[in-house]
Symmetry: C2
Subunit: 512 residues, 2 copies
């Protein structure tokens, strides 16, 4: 599967910052990391000096300005928002609860869509005999440089090395040969949620790690038309997910030959433009033709009694998508999460000065929290007394929570709350006097969440469109063809390099 597979991309394009220009916590040259240092993680007790005016200070947290240094900002956000941490083995990542909850939101949505489109979940072993990988010529060429191999099991040297799965087409075909006999066994449409391992040299949290989590769909069909229809259906599921849930205006299209998955006839992709104007391959759907079925002898008896090789597809989305969400919507203040994938949609900050105000404010806050929870809103009450309200505002903004509700003594007596939207900074995003009356409050909050979901997609779309033209002409600077978009502009097309007539428009961009 090719969600993280970019065989032709020069490594220089994905090189992270190697010089650390600021003391921010998570900034480190991840690829060359051998052992995570104690104290590397951010937690509420960590103290970090601030000596840089381009940073947003969340009291004891420091986030580099996004416009100043996008890569440093990205790593700071991942540390400070507690999304992930480095594992002890070079290039591995620990996905922390807040980051994992975003992945769970992705899973929940897609899992339903996969089942609705006729796929069943199952699980294949992760150890694949080395000989399997060698069976499909372009597959072994694409994957062999980055395999992790188990050579010792139960204290003994193994007779055949085992590959820790980098993708499962080979073992899937091995099993399909046992399950597929007749045309009545087709189509066979399955999916698995699993971990995969690729020995990447240049790594970056979420975007490219040694081990990552994904889903991989695998299907077998009786005709090439059915396979092509499936491949397009699944890239469409991914596209809808990107637009409607992640608020990312991806461009769906076909990959160039060089960027096609190792073993596929055709690869479709959704490409997303990140905040630094680089492209992120966010999901792929491969028409495998009969490449694997011929290599493994995956055949069926058709309606005329003839033996035929099946036509196959595979498609994947991975934890890389979490990186895409961070890099699409974040700003200088930190993360900004689309409500539909946000682990916490609403945070409630109670505010009091005098001790006699506390109990009324807290009980109103608890009440509002229960009302929203009962209405299915993902809500958190931050009633800790160790931090000031101002610290909490900055902290939850940095964590990207879509809506903040403030409740103070005056609000309690007015039976109202103050509501702020994460995507509209300062006073413009702040509305006073929203009634606490459950029906009014719930519908107000839900409307605001919907509005913000739409606003994030719209902002990202404007950003993408304002920059796409520029990117086309930047080819000579190292940008690669991201895809040939399904939606082509009308009129005559001309080749940028030669001036000759061209059949299709391609999207070029630097890539992660």
């Amino acid at each position: 599967m090719g969600a993280l597979r970019l065989p032709s991309l020069p490594a220089i394009l994905v090189r992270p910052t190697t010089t650390s220009r600021s003391p921010a916590i998570f900034r480190r040259n991840f690829p060359f990391l051998q052992q995570a240092a104690v104290g590397f993680s951010a937690r509420s007790t960590a103290e970090v000096p601030t000596d840089n005016s381009t940073k947003t200070k969340t009291q004891d947290r420091v986030v580099t300005s996004r416009s100043q240094d996008f890569n440093a900002w990205y790593l700071d956000i991942i540390a400070n928002a507690e999304l992930a941490d480095y594992g002890p083995v070079r290039g591995t990542m620990v996905i922390r609860p807040y980051g994992y909850a975003i992945w769970e939101a992705i899973q929940e949505y897609l899992n339903v869509k996969f089942k609705e489109t006729g796929h069943s979940n199952m699980y294949f072993p992760q150890f694949i005999p080395y000989s399997f990988i060698e069976k499909e010529a372009s597959h072994v060429e694409g994957f062999s440089p980055e395999l992790a191999l188990v050579t010792i099991g139960g204290g003994k040297e193994l007779e055949e090395k085992l590959v820790v799965r980098p993708t499962s087409e080979t073992i899937v075909n091995h099993m399909f040969t046992q399950w597929i006999h007749s045309h009545r066994d087709l189509p066979l449409m399955i999916n698995q949620w699993a971990n995969v391992t690729r020995w990447e040299m240049r790594t970056k949290p979420f975007v490219r790690t040694l081990e990552f989590l994904w889903q991989e769909g695998h299907t077998a069909h009786a005709t090439p038309e059915e396979a092509e229809k499936e491949v397009l259906q699944m890239i469409d599921v991914y596209t809808k997910f990107a637009y409607e849930q992640a608020a990312i205006p991806v461009i769906a299209g076909r990959k160039s030959k060089v960027e096609t998955f190792a073993g596929a006839d055709r690869t479709y992709t959704i490409e997303a433009m990140m905040g630094d104007r680089k492209a992120l391959q966010a999901g792929t759907s491969h028409n495998l033709g009969q490449n694997f079925s011929r290599a493994f002898g995956t055949q069926f008896t058709d309606e005329n009694g003839l033996r035929q090789h099946v036509w196959q597809t595979s498609w994947a989305i991975s934890t890389r998508f979490v990186g895409g969400i961070i890099m699409t919507h974040g700003d200088d203040a930190g993360l900004m999460l689309p409500p539909r994938v946000a682990p916490i949609q609403v945070v409630i900050v109670p505010i009091w000065k005098k001790e006699e105000e506390k109990s009324d404010v807290l009980s109103a806050a608890v009440n509002v929290c229960e009302v929203l929870k009962g209405a299915g809103v993902k809500v958190k009450l931050d009633d800790s007394e160790q931090r000031t309200p101002g610290w909490k505002f900055n902290f939850w903004e940095m964590k990207g929570v879509p809506i903040r509700i403030e409740i103070g003594p005056r609000d309690v007596s007015n039976r109202s709350v103050v509501i702020s939207r994460r995507d509209i900074p300062g006073k413009q995003g702040k509305v006073f006097g929203v009634s606490m009356e459950p029906n009014i409050l719930v519908s107000y909050v839900k409307d605001k969440l919907d509005e913000m979901q739409v606003a994030l997609l719209s902002m990202a779309t404007s950003f993408r469109d304002s920059d796409t033209e520029e990117l086309k002409v930047k080819e000579e600077t190292g940008a690669t063809i991201r895809c040939y978009p399904f939606e082509q502009p009308e009129g005559t097309k001309t080749c940028l390099m030669t001036g000759n007539p061209a059949g299709e428009v391609a999207i070029f961009a630097k890539s992660y």
Copy 2:
């Protein structure tokens, strides 16, 4: 984690049948399997000769009688009900959609309970530096004989071998040292759903495989009392799951020293009695004391400013539980699934003889299917025309579907259906003339599902209690202490071997 960890059990107790006394499909000496043969899997087109009167013949399927040969029956069910298949690497298993859906039912229930009890999901890398495993003395002793080691990555020999996680206490502690600073960071309560690898020599589908799926909870606390409370809380969650969802009357209790998890102070377990009167360890919860926190230096500053080692727990349930469900409830006709974990709760079989009856029968069947689906019942309409109704009855019985609905031409004209319960064989379980009227039908079906859920637990409980006394005295035949039950009988206790007074009653059994 010890869900599949039985360090002290002699291998002979879990030896599968080595001589194949029947031609049934899945019967093979799994441990010594090197490569799965083509045609090994059962699918609707497979043809198998029948030459044994002790088998139930589902037309082209053959299931060994459960009473005749329990192990052969178990393997036949797994093949014929399409629960799992052998992977290409010795001892690995492919979990097929029907088997995986049972695991999904387990996950759905437990995932909610874990969150309700304050745990967050996250994900740790599966590659663990070899040196980590060596840090806790009894841990390395318990696990080192069965490790899978990655020695080559990206084409190069690695400087330090990497362990493919057999359990995650070591890497969890490595990360905890970075996240835990003060008593305000405690308790830290997390869980992960993951695959784990143990190089087992004696394997058996679901019960013990080289790679398996599980959840592993890990928590850190400021006091030993809190840790003990957590350990007991989680064994209680498992116990409730077993009784209320899986209809398995497990016995919860404490493990003997020899059976305690490698690295724990105390292990609690739920032990289930299988249909062959052997015990299955179905879930474990470990009080790790300070063993790992001392080995890894996982410390916090307490309220008095003193540095203390944290008190830890870990607890796990695995895909082994699917094996437990099969072996608790199955009978000679095949699988029998408790409604709450059944992937299909109701199967509808339309019956017609004359072509002119077909359309009315099918449209009534589709209608009943939609009504039940709309009411949240997991329902399947088997309208395939390649099989007779009789074949379908046997097939879905073998698959363990709790309720079958038959609809024929007479039923259509009477506006009623025929309903059969999987747990009550023959005519006793069959009710004619149940109204098709949606409200009546839905409430009838839901009542029957509830009744069957209760009946399966009750049957399994009677079976367990009728045999427990016998097992106690069988100690000398090789049975081991499964646990010291929380619920102890009243009155004086005497040691079986010495006749001396005893403090506690222990449960002995042969074990998987």
